[in-house]
Symmetry: D3
Subunit: 69 residues, 6 copies
Amino acid sequence: MPYVNIRVTREGVSAEQKLALIEGVTDLLEHVLNKKPADTFVVIDEVDTDNWGVNRESVTSRRRREAAQ
Amino acid sequence: MPYVNIRVTREGVSAEQKLALIEGVTDLLEHVLNKKPADTFVVIDEVDTDNWGVNRESVTSRRRREAAQ
Amino acid sequence: MPYVNIRVTREGVSAEQKLALIEGVTDLLEHVLNKKPADTFVVIDEVDTDNWGVNRESVTSRRRREAAQ
Amino acid sequence: MPYVNIRVTREGVSAEQKLALIEGVTDLLEHVLNKKPADTFVVIDEVDTDNWGVNRESVTSRRRREAAQ
Amino acid sequence: MPYVNIRVTREGVSAEQKLALIEGVTDLLEHVLNKKPADTFVVIDEVDTDNWGVNRESVTSRRRREAAQ
Amino acid sequence: MPYVNIRVTREGVSAEQKLALIEGVTDLLEHVLNKKPADTFVVIDEVDTDNWGVNRESVTSRRRREAAQ
């Protein structure tokens, strides 16, 4: 009965990439803990870059600095 | 001081249904654990069907299969 | 595919009360949103009263004040 | 390695206010627990007022009552 | 900056298995979304079987039924 | 109605430090967003170092390396 919540910044994650995350996490839980795929929920949250902070700045600001370099 | 987070797929949940969830969960916590309604937070997250995986596929894909049957 | 997380303070919740919460939330989601019980996960987190704050104090401290009255 | 999730209602939080929350929480964790800012993630979730319940009503309904007074 | 929360029932997950989950999820996020391992947090929550419900019963009760068969 | 969840590793956080986190976060939300302290919940989760991964290793292993230096 695993529940896995993946939180990433909203920066253009495609449906194909989301599916790859769902498949990868489900397989991992089956291989490591013998959890049945039918019992594994994977929920992906995409978070606006203004709403995610790391090192005392938003990811919006970090991306701007990275792009300027 | 309960905090309840209900996560469902975003498939047309109406304001009336959201209110029914809020009322139902608040009443349940009052009846079972004697928690005061004023102290009970209920937060509903609606998740895009591409972002929810179960049984190694997205709910988008599951719904498509169900509709095809 | 609902996932419901109930967070309450750890103050002696019995296995019977936990089951009543699980049944009540599962029934609510079936009645309001037509969600299948087999697809509904309910996870209860019990949190130490030192670790829960409301109104700028811990629940430990609030309970002490309430008991003193 | 702290992870802090701030959930508030979606009622016009500006980018400046989000940054103030990110800075404030990061500084607090550094001062209280000596956590390095580079290791502190702060994620802000804005929740629609229809989706947040307290005291058995939605925040949408509470705001309407408050405005009417 | 991904944050991944894996929630499983507390049924004897070893430190080796936890590490396999941490490595597997971190690698997955690097391969699928090009996320740097240094920026990926993985947090595993182990939940008592009395506190996890599925299909209107606790996992404790489900395990008892499975063992009896 | 803010709800704030602070997740840190379980490495000897005292009740005084927990209270400082509760007070600091509550004050921050009052100053930045004008949220009433009575409506602010702060929940602190302490996570075992085996259960927290960063940079593809557990915090247990990271602490061991740091101590060896």
